[in-house]
Symmetry: C2
Subunit: 207 residues, 2 copies
DNA sequence: TCTTCAATACCAATCAGTCGGTATGGTGTA
DNA sequence: TACACCATACCGACTGATTGGTATTGAAGA
């Protein structure tokens, strides 16, 4: 929230999109009411339907909003400066761990949550979530590929697959965190992922 | 579904619980209507409210139902016969891969889905899901502990933490599968997890 | 005056839950 | 055997609240 939400007093449209990220991550897609979004955004229903045709229309835009917000966040993150591509990847995961602060809905993934709920009923929205998740994974893929050639890894797994695996671990970590009611278990899962990557790229273990 | 659903012509109560597992995994918790469950179970609303006080009451029972169904499934699974505890663990994951068949809602985790959606609003139900997930993880913990001592692993990670990590990977794999619209990516994530465990327990890599 | 944005009252559909009543089968008793 | 009595299971029309969406009006800037 504190991270992903734009400045106060944005225009109504942006405030509604910000509210969608907040409220949906707390209550889920179906349970989120249009009135919830309006009151969270401090906006009336008339304004809502001026800017969006329907709830689903807003949600589709909200996925795009999520994508640009997170895109900016990771683009500005510190881990890109490192020289070694493996170090960049590991620093990315440290950065993900640093984001595990505040209440749980603060750091869980909007796209992942919606994918779960909307899978059967809103294919368009799920497709947008897929593009967001895969697009983010793609930003790791380059580093992974570079690390593979730098460390001379000839593997039966692909850079793309490993990048997606990191996202799977993160998504799963969020669920476990919700189940356990705390971020600690999520951090532990990320630690396991870091350990895996280190083992994978240690020169003794080329598979 | 084909796996987790009891025989036809059970009593109405059991049919409603089976329907809950099916319908919720397809449509999500909030989007599941009582009428959906009734028509899926071939039962009337009157019958529903004869057996359950409310929707939430049924859902709480459904988590217990899920727990016993999956408990039986894994108790009867073939991987327990192996002598080596690490082999048992790896065979468990192969078994999980074998379960990735049919439509996506067939093999996703009821408890994990509900945890996502109900986290803020139904603490009791989430607590039941947590017990189910952690209880399942606990069945792996013994094997992990045994493998640690057999392979002489002195680690900074715990058997419990690693067991929970396997569940996190599975949960995340399900989300990615829904995003990508197929089970393949989930299998790939499980492969990465298997590779991690092998590296972790290979005697060259004691951390 | 025309367009953009927003406020409020309102509508129709949906949905969780209620309620009065029925069907069936078991048990005790004469 | 026959009858009264009761409990469990079930039925489905109905209700009141919720909710997505609409219609109407107003206000401010260009």
């Amino acid at each position: 929230m504190v991270i992903f939400v734009s400045d106060k007093q944005q225009d109504s449209r942006t405030r509604l999109l910000d509210s969608a990220l907040r409220v949906v991550r707390a209550k889920g897609y179906s349970a989120t009411r249009i009135d919830d979004l309006c009151s969270d955004a401090g906006v009336t229903k008339g304004s809502f339907f001026h800017h969006f045709r329907s709830k689903d229309d807003l949600m589709l835009s909200a996925v795009g909003h999520w994508d640009t917000m997170t895109g900016n966040l990771f683009a500005q993150a510190p881990y890109h400066h490192l020289d070694d591509p493996l170090e960049r990847l590991l620093a990315y995961l440290e950065f993900r761990k640093d984001l595990l602060v505040g209440d749980l809905p603060n750091f869980t993934c909007f796209a992942g949550m919606i994918t779960q709920e909307a899978y059967e009923t809103r294919p368009e929205i799920v497709a947008a979530c897929e593009r967001s998740i895969s697009g983010h994974a793609a930003t790791l893929e380059a580093d992974i590929r570079e690390a593979m050639s730098l460390y001379g890894i000839q593997a039966e797994w692909s850079a793309e697959g490993l990048a997606l695996h990191t996202q799977a671990v993160l998504q799963g970590a969020f669920i476990l965190a919700k189940a356990k009611g705390g971020a600690a278990i999520a951090a532990e899962s990320i630690d396991h992922l870091v350990r895996y990557l280190k083992l994978l790229f240690s020169t003794h273990n080329q598979t």
